[in-house]
C-alpha cells in the first residue's frame, strides 16, 4: 500500500521503468494500480536499436510483476519522507 500511494503521487512525472527482461522504457507516469501495474504515456525505449518492434509504441501498460526498477528524477524524491514512511510501515506492519 505504501508504494501504491507513493506512485499515485508521482503521476505526471517522467520516469524510466526497467523490466526484468532488461528492456528500459522512459515515459510519463499515467497511472498505477494496487498490483503496481504501470501505464506510461509518450514512451521511448532506451536503446531503441535493440528493440525495433517497439518503434511505434507510444503508450503502454506494464505488468507490475515484470518490473525490476522504476527510475525516478532525484528532485522528485523526498528521501526523508520516504524513510519515515518506510520506518512506520516496517514497525506497524
Amino acid at each position: 500500500q505504501l508504494f501504491f500511494s507513493y506512485f499515485k503521487d508521482l503521476v505526471g512525472r517522467e520516469v524510466t521503468v526497467e523490466l526484468k527482461n532488461d528492456l528500459a522504457i522512459r515515459g510519463t507516469l499515467h497511472s498505477v494500480d494496487q498490483y503496481l501495474n504501470i501505464k506510461l504515456e509518450n514512451t521511448r525505449v532506451v536503446d531503441q536499436d535493440k528493440y525495433p518492434h517497439m518503434l511505434s509504441v507510444r503508450n503502454c501498460f506494464i505488468r507490475g510483476s515484470v518490473v525490476r526498477y522504476v527510475q525516478l528524477p532525484p528532485e522528485g524524491v523526498d528521501v526523508e519522507l520516504l524513510h519515515d514512511a518506510t520506518r512506520r510501515e516496517a514497525r506497524g506492519g
Binding site: I25, S56, V57, I62, V66, R87
Partner: protein, 138 residues
Amino acid sequence: MKDFGPKKLLVLLRDGRKLMGILRSFDQFANAVLEGACERVIVGDLYCDIPLGLYVIRGENVVLIGELDMEREELPPHMIPVSAADIKRLCSFFICTSTIFVRLVCLVSMGKEAQKAERDATDLKGSMRRRMEFLDMD
C-alpha cells in the same frame, strides 16, 4: 481496458515472443484475448508476421501491452520481410550459433566466475545491511 480502444496492440511475452492483434478482453490478472493475432518474429534485420487467429493469453506471461501508433512506422525502414519458412530456418540457425557461442564463453570464464560470485555475494550482503540501517530495526 477502455483505454486501449480498437487499436492494434503489441503484446510482449515473458518468453520473448511479440504478439500483435486487437484486444477483445482483459482482466485484473492481465489475461487477454487478442483477435486477428499474429506473431512478429525478428531475426536481425529480417522479420515475418505469422498469423495465429484468436488467442487467449494467460496474464502471468504478459510483460507489456503497447499501443501501436498507426501514424508511425511499426519497424525501422531497413528491416526486410521474409517468408515464414525462411524465418523459421533462420531462427534455428540463430539459436544454434548463439548456443555454441554462449557455451564457449562459459567454459572460458567458469574458473574466474566462481571466485567473483563469492566476492559479489559478500559485497551485496554488506551494502544491503548498510542501506537498511535507517530502519532502526536493531
